[in-house]
């Protein structure tokens, strides 16, 4: 059979969802952000909520997320996405509201906002991309950086005495009464991508059930910041990150 006979519209089994725009993403080759954007877009398409979804984009690499998903967006001040999402959701309770934040935005400068938004049990979805480094600003140490990990500001590796310990925010948030679904996923291979998509879908469904905040952490890579190629970065993540950031549902009520 000729390739031309296979490549026909009726044989198409997977393609780009129309919720993603045609803009070329500015992310580095192999960046986890692209996969997570795609998963959110696919969930929005499958749930048929493109007109009812409002995203809040962070400061960080994902600051331009509004260029890539064809939904309504607001851009928050650094770390303040959960506060803005609180206002949007309270004023528009019939809308699906989510924030999309990296570890610099959520776990560092926005630590207070996310704690209180989750503690209040706001009916929003929080997508948290944890790649253990500040990607946009040039690979400095983040609160989530692993011990011994070399970054621009810890050239001899992160030292607990000097820099403290990696912050596992997801476990902390699971302790709060306001959260209903807290999970940690990854997107380095097809199986994990499919699991992450299910988790995101569940989080979006929860936001209409008035059960509380749904929090989805995605352990991702920053191959530029880690100074590795994308495939090696995925391997490094599996070997090193998952020991400190184990995958799976932490809370589901």
């Amino acid at each position: 059979m000729d390739i031309k006979d296979i490549i026909k519209e009726e044989n198409k089994v997977y393609g780009k969802t129309p919720v993603l725009t045609d803009n070329v993403m500015h992310y580095c080759p192999g960046c986890s952000h692209g996969v997570v954007h795609k998963l959110i877009a696919e969930v929005i398409e499958e749930m048929g909520i493109q007109d009812k979804t409002i995203g809040v984009s962070p400061v960080g690499c994902a600051v331009l997320a509004y260029n890539y998903l064809d939904i309504d967006w607001e851009e928050a001040a650094h770390g303040r996405a959960p506060a803005l999402a609180t206002a949007i959701k309270r004023l528009n309770p019939d809308k699906y509201v989510f924030t999309y934040q990296g570890d610099g935005d959520l776990a560092s400068i926005g630590c207070g906002e996310i704690m209180h938004a989750c503690n209040r049990g706001e009916n929003i979805v929080v997508i948290f991309i944890n790649n253990a480094i500040y990607g946009m600003t040039g690979g400095q140490m983040a609160p989530t950086t692993l011990l011994g990990m070399v970054t621009a500001t810890t050239p001899y590796g992160r030292n607990a005495e000097l820099n403290g310990y990696p912050l596992r925010l997801t476990e902390l948030l699971a302790q709060l009464d306001g959260t209903c679904y807290v999970t940690r996923q990854s997107v380095q291979n097809p199986a994990s991508v499919r699991k992450a998509k299910k988790a995101i879908q569940k989080a979006f469904e929860n936001s209409m059930k008035k059960k509380g905040t749904s929090f989805v952490e995605i352990v991702g890579t920053c191959n530029s910041g880690w100074k590795m190629n994308p495939v090696k970065a995925n391997q490094w993540m599996e070997e090193n990150m998952f020991a400190k950031y184990p995958l799976g549902d932490i809370k589901d009520i």
Partner: protein, 73 residues
Amino acid sequence: MAVRGAIVVDNEKCKGCGVCVANCPTKTIALSHEVNGKGYNYAYMANPESCTGCTNCATVCPDSVITVYRVKL
């Protein structure tokens, strides 16, 4: 083989990260020697006969540049 597949890569949007190559179970995909307008070695079907249309490559593609087709023989 009961199933044949094929992929179409948007060459100009592909950044040549190689994640699809690493996740292709049938070793169908490789990075080309030629480069696109941005200088990236884009992905292409090096072994078109072995493609089963499993969609693994498109699932992990960060830039959503792969479209997958599949036919049952």
